[in-house]
Symmetry: C2
């Protein structure tokens, strides 16, 4: 039995919410109850309102006591999308992390669980190092979460499969809508620097289609991700090749597409220029990128007979990350990853990031388990789509289909005349 | 046994597709097989590709023979969203209707089924009258379809319940997203002249909430429909009242909102100005209305402390009408309404529009049946939300909840801390 500190535990949620982030929250609580709380090492379990704002000294939010939350209520919360405790975009600097440690000291917190992306892993890392330097025993655990699927050391991250399911279903329905009335349809998908979510649109094809000729693929005919440099003249040529052949074209485009110099296309087409606390320009919650690309297509392509081109753009926006009907695999894995964080703590781990490890990739017998990584291995750095998931400049590979299909759950079987 | 002509039948689909328009198609085919075809009055069943373009003389599209389509394949097609035969925005004038009748004559068509909105009912009416005047026996039946829910003589129309389910689920998830990070969230919902679909956002509240004070309602806090004149100063005051109290505000807005003079707000804020064959300005497939309203809020509201206001807008666009997971009630009613059209024909009806009639409104024992109306009673005219469905300038009434809840199907039960 490892030598463990005795005190309280806090749990927080950070960054953009997902459909299953509360499964992870419920998992941590369940894991604590079955382990550290049962053994008397954890006295009370607190939730931090709006992430670290809920504990950092001098910040306005507060803690909520989850110690006595009933299993039934916890189950309902687990099935509810978006952060039940509230979230935050704050990225604590050194002084802020000192305030977090002060808050922990005040409430005798010895176990710190943070559900989020690589910024949250970094918060865990800094708080953990600073606590050690200050000789305050605090064990910090990061539970993975992000629809962008851009965490290192993970096969994939909780939140991604549900968002990918939404993007797939949306492209399935929209492809048929586009087929019934014709024209060009642009769909803007979330993902600032990683293209996994946009790539999942390919699953709408129901076939592992990798034909070099986009006019021979089922819709979506064209897929553009941030990992492949985007050139406007190539884009126009690609769309023209499909539209002139089929009279229609469905396109999935990541909000984060960038040119050969790495400069994002979105801000170049947008008026807002609003910047968040991380220095990122606002890409979601606005139709500007889609509308800008529509205008470029309308001006750049001239259909036969001088007819005006029907071009439409939908920006999937916030619907894709909190849709209340998640992937079943995702819900299960998010729960398990939360539970695993509490188990690591009970095993005497001094602090870690939980990871998702795939153990069997076959579609009908997919399996995963949880592992651990050092906080520094996950913190800050983003993961990108590997080259073997891509095919040419506007498509995904068979390897990507094999990777993504098991995650999204059963899909409707569609048929047309 | 009525005296019925012997010949072929055609079926077409028109206008914006829905998630269940192929259920209606399958229903007509099943109804014909069980009735007129079984009795030898209908020899072949044809589908018109892209609506009346598929039969009108001189138009490029063609017929597809559905006579031998297997029941199994038909079932798969029924479960597939969007028009399986393709759709059209053509609104036939007199000359075009003559070409339709010529096409019918060439193929010995005696039964004409058209699935669509009030424009489609009008096409049926004109074709029916012209055929009678030309002494060509042709029986025309309109099968109702529209997510806008704006057909007269109908309690509601197939397509609406599924779109309403999408809008409800979207607002449920998005309300929690908005609650977790705060700020103002605008959602633009389809519906050019009728607000039913936007109003269905209210079902996301899980309560029949009609409090006069929007800050006391669960999200969506504010709902704006075309039936209530929209004034920008009132809009700013409404949003301010909620945001200053809660630090957040979720708003459902119809794309068709209009000012006290009846002028649409959308085109006043938009650059595109693209006009379709019906003379309508393009409202969907662009984020311009949402982005325009966002800009107005950012400029018009000044939050305490000089902080910049977080305002996001999502335009639901085409996802809401072809989402591949429809309302079960909707799928059933769409199928039944198609079958009823074929049954009316078999009973000797000379031409009619099928209607949906509610027979029991209780949530746990909701029932509906099909009726008939004259084509002229449904053609052209749009139905609007009755005053008793509205509450103040930015909410719905208890009567609307009671009307809409039974249609959308089971909703997730959500819970937060």
């Amino acid at each position: 039995m490892p030598d463990l500190p005795t005190g309280n535990a806090v749990i927080g949620q950070s960054g953009g919410p997902t459909a299953v982030i509360n499964q992870s929250l419920a998992g941590v609580i369940e894991g604590l109850r079955a382990g550290l709380a049962d053994r008397g090492k954890v006295k009370r379990i607190f939730g931090m309102r709006h992430g670290v704002r809920g504990i950092a000294k001098g910040h306005p939010e507060e803690l909520v006591d989850l110690t006595g939350t009933s299993a039934e209520r916890l189950e309902r919360i687990a099935r509810t999308p978006s952060a039940a405790l509230g979230s935050t975009r704050d990225k604590p600097d050194d002084a802020y992390c000192d305030q977090i440690i002060e808050g922990c000291r005040d409430d005798n917190v010895r176990y710190f669980f943070y559900i989020g992306g690589n910024d949250s892993a970094d918060t865990c890392r800094i708080v953990s190092e600073k606590a050690a330097a200050a000789n305050y025993e605090l064990r910090c655990f990061h539970v993975p979460k992000t629809i962008d699927n851009d965490l290192r050391e993970n096969d994939h991250t909780p939140g991604f499969p549900s968002a990918a399911r939404f993007v797939t279903l949306a492209h399935m329905g929209d492809a048929l809508d586009n087929a019934s009335l014709g024209g060009i349809k642009i769909n803007i998908v979330m993902g600032r620097s990683a293209g996994f979510l946009t790539a999942s649109a390919a699953l709408a094809r129901s076939l592992r289609e990798t034909d070099d000729n986009p006019a021979k693929r089922p819709a979506p005919h064209l897929i553009y991700v941030p990992e492949v440099p985007f050139a406007m003249d190539e884009f126009l040529a690609d769309v023209d090749a499909v539209y002139s052949k089929l009279g229609r074209c469905q396109i999935a485009i990541s909000e984060g597409i960038r040119d050969a110099d790495g400069k994002e296309i979105g801000p170049q087409l947008m008026a807002s220029g609003e910047v968040d606390a991380h220095g990122n320009v606002q890409l979601s919650g606005s139709g500007a990128l889609g509308d800008g690309l529509s205008d470029i297509l309308k001006k750049g392509l001239t259909p036969a007979g001088g007819k005006s081109l029907r071009v439409r753009a939908d920006t999937f926006g916030y619907l894709q990350r909190c849709w209340p009907e998640p992937s079943a695999v995702d819900a299960m894995e998010a729960r398990t990853s939360g539970r695993h964080a509490a188990e690591l703590a009970a095993q005497g781990d001094a602090g870690a990031s939980v990871t998702i490890v795939r153990t069997n990739n076959a579609l009908d017998s997919y399996r995963s388990t949880c592992g651990r990584a050092d906080l520094s291995a996950v913190a800050r750095h983003a993961r990108h789509m590997p080259p073997e998931f891509l095919s040419g400049r506007n498509n995904v590979s068979t390897a990507f289909y094999d990777y993504c299909y098991p995650l999204v759950g059963d899909l409707p079987r569609l048929e047309r005349f």
